[in-house]
Structures are given as structure tokens and as C-alpha cells.
């Protein structure tokens, strides 16, 4: 085969390969959405129990994804979980916003739900969400139910 033909075929092959990579990153992966989240500010929240929350979990407000969980660490003084959240700069939240750990579906992934309060001042970068509600741990609920049943039995 002549030079030109080989060059064209190799060029086609390389282009196809890169197209496949871009397809995997943008269409199959989350590159298109995580690029949109590049410009973020970070706030922290403390929870008594985060359940199964993982880094990169979604942060939603009214069901819309507004950010991602950046990291989860344990404060060894208060034994609370410290969750750092990156929120898209397009979205501003009042200072008295509360954060809840919720579950998508009955046994789905856990995410953080933000409920805005009524304060006129906004959460700034490095700010802290004071009002938090821990994750619902299934075992605790079952335990409470068993205890309440036992207590009812005692009264009878």
C-alpha cells in the first residue's frame, strides 16, 4: 500500500480511539457534569452519624444536584463526623441552611439534602452548616422498635 493510504488508515484508527475515549468519559462517565462543578466553594457540616455517606456523594437541594461531598473525616475530640461539601458557585444558600443525610430509594445511595432557612446572610466559603440531621441507621430503628414493643409488653 502506498504512503498516503497507510497514513489515512492510521489517522482514522487514532481518531476512532480518541473518539471512544471521549465517549467513555463524557457519555458513559460523569466528566460533562463534573466539569460544570469546577467552580465551587467549600462548606463543612458536622454529623453525629453519617451512615454510609461516601466522598463524591451528591449534595441536593429540592432534588437538584448542587454539589458533591469532598471528604469525610472524624473529629477525634468531639467524635463527630466532619463532612466537607463543595457547592457550585451558582447556588447561594442562607446561613441557617440545614443539612440532612437522606437515602435515595429504600436501600439506595446516601446523599446530603440541603434545606435553606430564612437568613439574609449567605453561607461563605469555609463556612459551617450548624443544623444537621444524622443518617437513619436501619439497625437503630429496629432496635428502638424492639424496645418500644418490650416496654408495651411490660405495661400490660
Amino acid at each position: 500500500m502506498d504512503r498516503k493510504g497507510v497514513d489515512v488508515l492510521v489517522g482514522l484508527f487514532v481518531l476512532l480511539g480518541f473518539a471512544a475515549l471521549i465517549f467513555l468519559a463524557m457519555r458513559a462517565g460523569n466528566m460533562s457534569s463534573s466539569v460544570g462543578l469546577n467552580d465551587t466553594y467549600s462548606v463543612s457540616a458536622r454529623f453525629d452519624n453519617i451512615g454510609g455517606l461516601k466522598p463524591r456523594a451528591a449534595v441536593r437541594s429540592a432534588g437538584v444536584v448542587v454539589g458533591r461531598v469532598a471528604s469525610v473525616t472524624l473529629d477525634s475530640n468531639s467524635y463527630e463526623a466532619v463532612v466537607l461539601i463543595d457547592i457550585d458557585r451558582r447556588y447561594r444558600f442562607p446561613k441557617d441552611t440545614s443539612a440532612k443525610i437522606l437515602t435515595a430509594g429504600l436501600l439506595g445511595e446516601q446523599y446530603i439534602g440541603l434545606e435553606p432557612g430564612g437568613d439574609t446572610a449567605h453561607l461563605e466559603s469555609g463556612g459551617r452548616i450548624a443544623l444537621t440531621q444524622s443518617a437513619v441507621v436501619l439497625e437503630n430503628i429496629i432496635g428502638q422498635m424492639l424496645y418500644s414493643r418490650a416496654a408495651e409488653g411490660d405495661r400490660k
Binding site: 497507510v6 484508527f13 476512532l16 480511539g17 471512544a20 475515549l21 458513559a28 462517565g29 460523569n30
Partner: protein, 260 residues
């Protein structure tokens, strides 16, 4: 009495020196492949030979594996009422594991063997010796362009394999079985991280490219210069490269995906 330990010692020294020689050969290939990029003509010819000619087998296998993943995944997920996660299952298994590994195995069978046989026959036909006589370094002239081309081809082929697999899973899952198309793609995008999953998959395929290309060229270059020697070398390329890829895959998976 002394003979036994002495023989063991000599065998150990032999094995260790072989590892050392292999490492030296590998580093030399890497250096020469980098230098060889200054003569892109040779590399492009080899990309055509290795990459374009492997394209059909890679594309067809990717599509078929995607079909199978779509069917099998659907049967299992249906039990838990979560058919929508089919896209996520197909894509994660392809991007993380099957794409790089199966491509590397096919690549060893399709391109690795032909590299070994070609280099081995050059040696058997005394072409390598002739080059040395003319003061042309056969490692730089013959092996390095092939090494560079294999390194370039492998990640591209693995990406094509995964992409075709995802499309195959889509065809079976959405078009034939009737999983909701929106859920198929959105669950996939929600669960596949472009850096952690796709990026690590690409990294894996690069490592496998180094492995397969090195094994094929090393074995071919050191084949016995007889017809039987070349045929033995070709067989051992497939065996050694496949085992090395599968072993490395375990180590890489443990390193990359153990944290989450």
C-alpha cells in the same frame, strides 16, 4: 556434598541475572522507543500493522461481550427489581476490568504473536546478524518502533473495546429487552467516575501495553534461530503475556479500587 548447594547457588544466580538482563532490556527498549519517535515513519507503519489490523477482532469482540453482559446482567438484576442499573453494571465492568484485560489478551494473541514470529524469523533468517554487521542497532531499528507502536495502540484499542461494549449492552438492554433508555444512561453517568473508573482503566491498558509488547519482543528477540525455536517462542509469548496481564490486573485492581 558440595555439588548440591553449589548447583542451587548457580541456578539462583542465573535466574537473578536473567531478571537483571530483562530489566536492562526493558529500560533500553523504553529509551529507544522514545528516541524512535523522531523517526515517526517507522512507528506509523507499525501502528498500521499492529493497530489497524487488530481493529476488526477488537471491535467485534467488544460488541459481543457487551451483548452478553447486557443479557446476563439483566437476568441477575431483574431478581432485585433494579434493571435500570444495567447500564452502570455493563459500563463499570467494561471500563474497569473487561476492556483493558480482554483487549490485552486479544492483543497478545493477535499482535503479540505476529511480533514474536516476525522478529524470531528475522533472527532465524540472519537478518538481525546482518544488521549488526552493518553497524545498525537491531534493537533501535527493529524492536523500538514496534514497542512504541504497541504502546500507542493498546489504550486506543481498549477504549474502542469498552465503547463498543457499552453500545452492545445498550442494544441488548434497551432496544431488545426494553430497559428504560433514560435510566440506563443516567444511572451509568451517576455511577461511573471519569477519572477513577475511566482514567484508571486507561492506565491499566497502558500498563498492559507495556507488558504484552515487552514480552512479545523479548521472547522473539531471544528465540532460538530455528523453525522450532520460533514456534516455541510464539507459543510462550501468548502464555507468558496472558499470565502476566492477569497477574498484573489483580495487583492493579487491588491498588486502584480497594479504597472505594
Amino acid at each position: 556434598m558440595i555439588k548440591g548447594p553449589a548447583r542451587v547457588l548457580r541456578a539462583t544466580a542465573e535466574a537473578v541475572s536473567r531478571v537483571g538482563y530483562g530489566t536492562r532490556f526493558f529500560l533500553r527498549l523504553c529509551g529507544l522507543a522514545l528516541a524512535g519517535l523522531r523517526r515517526p515513519r517507522l512507528v506509523i507503519d507499525q501502528i498500521h500493522f499492529i493497530g489497524n489490523h487488530s481493529l476488526s477482532i477488537i471491535l467485534v469482540s467488544g460488541l459481543l461481550i457487551g451483548f452478553v453482559l447486557g443479557l446476563q446482567g439483566y437476568y441477575t438484576l431483574r431478581r432485585y427489581g433494579s434493571e435500570e442499573a444495567l447500564g452502570l453494571l455493563v459500563t463499570l465492568s467494561l471500563v474497569r476490568e473487561l476492556g483493558p484485560v480482554v483487549t490485552a489478551l486479544l492483543f497478545a494473541g493477535r499482535a503479540g504473536t505476529s511480533l514474536t514470529a516476525e522478529v524470531g524469523l528475522m533472527k532465524a533468517g540472519e537478518q538481525i546478524d546482518a544488521m549488526e554487521m552493518m553497524a545498525v542497532d537491531p534493537v533501535a531499528r527493529v524492536l523500538a518502533p514496534r514497542f512504541a507502536a504497541a504502546l500507542i495502540c493498546m489504550p486506543l484499542l481498549a477504549a474502542l473495546f469498552s465503547a463498543l461494549g457499552v453500545l452492545g449492552g445498550y442494544v441488548v438492554g434497551v432496544e431488545m429487552i426494553g430497559v428504560d433508555a433514560g435510566a440506563f444512561w443516567s444511572q451509568m453517568q451517576g455511577g461511573v467516575d471519569w477519572l477513577l473508573d475511566v482514567g484508571n482503566g486507561v492506565l491499566k491498558s497502558v500498563v498492559f501495553g507495556f507488558t504484552v509488547a515487552f514480552v512479545a519482543l523479548y521472547v522473539g528477540y531471544h528465540a532460538e534461530a530455528t523453525p522450532e525455536g520460533v514456534s516455541r517462542a510464539t507459543t510462550s509469548t501468548v502464555v507468558v503475556a496472558s499470565l502476566a496481564v492477569l497477574g498484573l490486573d489483580f495487583i492493579l485492581t487491588a491498588l486502584m479500587f480497594s479504597s472505594n
